[in-house]
């Protein structure tokens, strides 16, 4: 398989919004999430707390569903999570939310497993009043398999 043309990929896909979703965040799921991560404060673990909210990294968990744009070229290998970043602008409370997702960056580098392609997908999270609560970035790394290599 020939190597992907990364410059063409960048030109075509960076900035492209490919998903917009509305959904409900439930207090019980937020609390269980927090406890599993080791949070101990009532603000994260007790839905009855007056300041109850999700830990900021909860925003990353909302990047489910379509991970890449429809019609995005098939990637030449298994995609693995290379890292995540969250910017928190406001507390994530239970209730209705909306998210918009776009392709934020594409780049390559070499690593322990050969040439790697990095895709950065950014999800912006809003509450039902349109307040921007968080950005959550996911960096997916695809190891480009060398031609004829079984590994």
């Amino acid at each position: 398989m020939s190597a992907l043309d990364i410059d063409a990929l960048r030109e075509e896909w960076i900035g492209v919004q490919f998903e917009e979703k509305s959904f409900e965040i439930e207090a019980s799921a937020m609390a269980e999430y927090a406890k599993a991560c080791g949070e101990v404060a009532a603000a994260y673990t007790d839905p009855d707390d007056p300041d109850f909210q999700a830990p900021p990294t909860f925003a990353s968990s909302l990047q489910r569903g379509r991970g890449l744009p429809e019609n995005f070229p098939k990637m030449p290998g298994l995609g693995m999570d290379a890292g995540k970043a969250v910017e928190a602008f406001g507390p994530i409370r239970p209730g209705p939310k909306m998210s918009k997702t776009h392709m934020h960056d594409i780049y390559t580098k070499t690593g322990r497993s050969g040439r790697m392609i990095f895709l950065v997908v950014r999800m912006a999270l809003y509450d039902d009043a349109g307040n921007h609560l968080a950005n959550a970035d996911t960096r997916v790394v695809i190891r480009e398999k060398p031609t004829g290599d079984e590994s």
Partner: protein, 211 residues
């Protein structure tokens, strides 16, 4: 003088350390190093001037680069604009021979780094590409090494007669100084570093257990 010869700042795509914070860390934690070299991935940071920080913290702060070749990653010390015109530092498929040739022509020193690491280390490519001409020094202590990667690097250096340096490969502030290189003479410039590397007057050190 002891310098960490392999560090990354926020200028590297996966670097998260600000240079000032490296300086503060070294002084606050009283690390046994006198400075460091910023070896950013696939670029040479021509514009940044760290002389103010160096003076403020009493440290030596130099600049180099980490480039990518068919033999894995290579540190380059003594980068000049003339050297930068010889090959594209951003190319992840540089021929090592080209890097070595260009360094020789422009009084710079190439040092394969983490040579014991899979894929991005030189030892993984010897069988396929052979022993490259012109390598004199490799990194035998790397602060990010896992398993026996440093031992593989040391064994290769011993077998092929290479000298060894040490560097932390720090990408975050708290990892600076884990490995370093001891020099007999003070070093205050990239050119002075090149001279002592060429003269072979250095020794790799590791502080990974201590820091």
């Amino acid at each position: 003088m002891i310098l960490d010869l392999h560090t990354h700042s926020i200028k590297s795509d996966d670097g998260r350390a600000k240079v000032e914070n490296y300086c503060q860390w070294i002084r606050t934690r009283e690390l046994p190093i006198d400075g460091f070299v910023l070896t950013e991935h696939r670029q040479f940071d021509l514009d940044s001037d760290y002389s103010g920080l160096a003076s403020e913290f009493g440290l030596t702060i130099l600049k180099g680069a980490e480039v990518e070749t068919e033999y894995g990653h290579v540190l380059v010390f003594g980068v000049t604009e003339a050297l930068m015109a010889e090959f594209d530092f951003g190319n992840i498929n540089l021929p090592l021979a080209r890097v070595i040739e260009a360094c020789a022509a422009h009084d710079a020193v190439p040092v394969p780094c983490h040579p014991g690491r899979a894929r991005v280390g030189m030892s993984a490519h010897l069988e396929e590409h052979g022993v490259p001409e012109g390598v004199k020094i490799v990194e035998i202590y790397n602060g990010g090494s896992r398993d026996n990667e440093d031992q593989v690097a040391q064994d290769m250096a011993s077998e092929l007669g290479y000298l060894g340096i040490g560097g932390s490969d720090a990408h975050i502030v708290s990892h600076v100084g884990r490995c370093a290189t001891r020099f007999d003479a003070p070093i205050t410039s990239e050119q002075a570093l090149v001279e002592v590397l060429k003269a072979g007057e250095f020794e790799a050190v590791t502080y990974r257990e201590a820091i």
